[in-house]
Amino acid sequence: MLNELFSPDMMASAIRLTIPILLAALGAIYSERSGVVNIGLEGMMVVGAFWAAWGSFNYGPVVGILFGITAGMVLASIHALVTVTFKVNQIVSGVALNVLAAGISRFSSLSIFGMATTSPHVSGLPKMTIKPLAEISWLKPLVTEFSILIPISFILVGVTVWVLKYTTFGLRLRAAGENPEAADTLGINVFKMRYAGIIISGAFAGLAGAYLSIEHTGMYVEGMTQGKGYIALAAMIFGNWSAIGAMFAALLFGFAEAISLRRITTLVPYQFIKIIPYLLTIIVVSGFVKKSDPPAKVGTNYERGEG
C-alpha cells in the first residue's frame, strides 16, 4: 500500500493537483498582505475556469488563459470596490462574490453552450516532455506530457518572494496590511495598495481556474473547483503568509487530494477518503499544527481618521 502511496504516478498526480491550490494561495498572499481577506477566491477560480474554457473554445488556449485571468481580475475589482471604497465587511463581500460567480457561470454556460454543468471539450496548451529524464523509469510520469503551467507556477513562487521582499511595491503592499495608519503618514496610498493586492489575487485565482478547466480537465465542469479557493486560504495560513511556506502547504494539500481521488483500499468507503483535504483544512486553520502570524491589520477596512 505504501508503494502505491508514494509511486511516481501518485507524485505526478499530486503535483498536478497542487497547481490550482498553489496559484490561488499565492494570490491570497498578495491580498492578505495588503490587509484584505479574499474569501472570494473560490468564485474567482470559478469564473476563471469558465471564461478560460470559453476563450479556448473560440480562440485557442493562450487567449483562453488570458480570458480566465481577466475574469478573475474583474471579479476581484468588485471585491476591491466594495471592501476598500465602500468599506463593506470583507467576508460578506467575498461570500456574495462566490454566490455571484456560481450564478454567472451556470447562467452563461446555459446561454452559451446550452448545457448547465459542462462545456464542450476545449484544447489546452501544448504539453511538455523532458526527453532525457523520461528515460528513467521512476521519473517518467513526472516529466512526460506535463502542462507548461506547472513550471510557471513554481517560478511564480520565486517571483512572489522577490516582489514582496525586495521591491518598493512589495514593501508598500505589506505596510498597507501591517500598519495602514503609519503607511498613510509616510505618503503610501493605502487604498491603491489594497486595490492592487486584491486585483493581483484575482489574476492568480483566474489563472488557477484556467489551469483547472483547459489544462487539467480539458473542459469546464460545474463545481470543478471543489472548494479549492478555500483550501488555498488554508494553505496560505499554514504557510504563514509566505510564498515558500504556501508552496509546501499546497504540495501537502495536493498530495491529500491525489490520495482522495484514488481508491487505494476498500476498507474505508471512498466518500470518507474524499473528505481528507477538507479535514486537513480544518485541522490547519484550527492551528493544531503550529501557531500562525497573520498581517496585523488583515480583515479590517482602513478609514482615514477624520476629526
Binding site: S93, L97, L100, I104, S111, Q271, S286
Partner: protein, 389 residues
C-alpha cells in the same frame, strides 16, 4: 422620536434602492443575451400573478428560505458567520429521514415531532464542531463551516448510496435502474400539506403545490427568534457580544459561552431548512436533494438586516423571484439561474447601501452634536462586527 421615524423611512428607502439596483444589473444580464428587459420583467410578473397557483408556490418556495435566513441572521447577530447552514441542513435532513423511515408503528403526533427534533439535532451536531473550534482554538468559522459543508455532502452520499440504499425498490422489468435514494419516510412522519386548511376558506390549491405546515412553523419560529433576541436576557447578551465582545466581558458576559450557545441554536434552526422539502414534498433522501438554501439564507438575512421578522419578508421576496424565474425559463427560455446572479447582486448592493446609510447617519449625527465635538476615533477597528448588524 421624530428621528427614529425618519431613520426607519431611510432604511426602507435604502433597501428598495438596493433591490432596484439589483434589478438594473439583472436588466444588463438580460440584454447581454439579447432580450428586452422590460418585456422579460413583464412576463415574469404576468406569469407570477396571472396564475392562481402562484401564491401557494411562492409560499412553498420561501419556506426553506425562512429557516435559512433565521439561522444565518442569528449567527450574524452575535458577530459570527454561519456559512455552514448548507451542511447543517444536509445532516439535519439525513438524521430526520433515518428516524423517519426506521421507527415503525408510532402515531403521527409522536413520530413527526421526533423527526423534526432529529433534524434539529443533526444541524446542531454539524454546528458543534466549528463552534468548539472557534471558541477553543480561535479557528475562523467561515473556513471551518465551508469545509464542513463539503464533508456533509460526502457523508450524506455515503449514507444514501451505500449504507441505507433502498434495495426494496421493485421496478417493473425494463423500466430503468433503481434510484439512488434511502427508503421512503413513513406516512406517520410526513408533514401534511395545507390543502385541507385553505379549503376551509374556499381556496382550492392544486395538488402539485406542496405548501405544508412548515411554512406556519417558520413564521412562528421567526416570532420566537424575534422575542429571543429582543425580549430575553440571553438575547441581550447575544446583542451585546455582537456589538463588542470585549466590552461585554468587562460587564461579566462570558462571550465564548454566548458564541457557543448561539451557534448551536443557529445550527438547530438550520437543521430544519430541508425538512419542508423532505417531509412535505419529496418524501425520501436522495443524492439530488436540493442544494444551496444555506447560501441563499445569507442573502435573506442581509436583506432583512438580520431582523427575524424581516427574514420572513425577504424570504417571500426570494420565493417570488424563484417563482418568476421558473416562468422566465418556460416562457422566455431564459435560464432560471439568472435568479442566483440576482441573489449575489442583492447581497452586494444591500451591504453597500447599508454602509452608505451608516455614513449618512453618522454625518447627520455629527450635525446634531456639532457643539459637543464628539469624535468617533475607534470606529475603524470594529468595522467587521458593525457591518453585519
Amino acid at each position: 422620536m421624530n428621528y427614529k421615524y425618519k431613520d426607519w423611512l431611510m432604511q426602507i428607502a435604502f433597501t428598495f434602492g438596493a433591490i432596484l439596483f439589483a434589478m438594473f444589473i439583472g436588466s444588463l444580464v438580460i440584454m447581454f443575451i439579447g432580450k428586452n428587459p422590460i418585456t422579460v420583467y413583464q412576463s415574469m410578473l404576468q406569469f407570477t400573478f396571472g396564475r392562481s397557483d402562484s401564491i401557494g408556490a411562492i409560499l412553498f418556495k420561501s419556506t426553506p428560505l425562512i429557516f435559512a435566513g433565521l439561522a444565518v441572521a442569528l449567527s450574524f447577530r452575535v458577530g459570527l458567520f454561519n456559512i455552514g447552514a448548507e451542511g447543517q441542513y444536509f445532516i439535519g435532513a439525513l438524521a430526520a429521514s433515518i428516524v423517519g423511515f426506521s421507527l415503525q408503528g408510532l402515531p403521527w403526533f409522536i413520530h413527526l415531532p421526533l423527526v423534526i427534533l432529529a433534524g434539529m439535532a443533526g444541524g446542531m451536531l454539524w454546528a458543534l464542531i466549528p463552534a468548539l473550534l472557534k471558541v477553543k482554538r480561535g479557528a475562523h468559522e467561515v473556513i471551518t463551516t465551508i469545509m464542513m459543508n463539503y464533508i456533509a455532502y460526502s457523508v450524506v452520499h455515503y449514507f444514501v448510496a451505500d449504507l441505507f440504499l433502498d434495495k426494496a425498490q421493485n421496478l417493473p422489468k425494463g423500466y430503468g435502474s433503481p434510484m439512488v435514494r434511502m427508503p421512503k419516510i413513513l406516512e406517520s412522519a410526513r408533514m401534511p400539506t395545507m390543502h385541507d386548511f385553505v379549503g376551509i376558506f374556499g381556496v382550492e390549491m392544486p395538488r402539485y403545490i406542496y405548501l405544508n405546515w412548515f411554512f406556519v412553523i417558520g413564521i412562528l419560529l421567526a416570532i420566537a427568534v424575534y422575542i429571543l433576541i429582543w425580549k430575553t436576557p440571553f438575547g441581550m447578551e447575544i446583542r451585546a457580544v455582537g456589538q463588542n465582545p470585549h466590552a461585554s466581558e468587562t460587564v461579566g458576559i462570558q462571550s465564548k459561552k454566548v458564541y457557543l450557545k448561539t451557534f448551536l441554536i443557529s445550527g438547530a434552526i438550520a437543521g430544519l431548512i430541508g425538512l419542508s422539502d423532505l417531509l412535505g414534498y419529496i418524501g425520501y433522501m436522495d443524492t439530488d436533494f436540493p442544494r444551496g438554501y444555506g447560501f441563499t439564507g445569507i442573502a435573506v438575512a442581509l436583506l432583512a438586516n438580520n431582523n427575524a421578522l424581516g427574514v420572513v419578508l425577504a424570504a417571500l421576496l426570494f420565493g417570488f423571484l424563484r417563482r418568476g424565474a421558473e416562468g422566465l425559463q418556460a416562457i422566455e427560455q431564459i435560464p432560471m439561474d439568472v435568479v442566483v446572479i440576482l441573489e449575489g447582486v442583492i447581497i452586494l448592493s444591500i451591504v453597500v447601501a447599508s454602509q452608505l446609510m451608516r455614513r449618512y447617519f453618522k454625518t447627520q449625527e455629527k450635525k446634531r452634536e456639532k457643539e459637543s465635538q464628539k469624535t468617533s476615533a475607534s470606529d475603524g477597528d470594529k468595522e467587521g462586527l458593525e457591518n453585519v448588524e
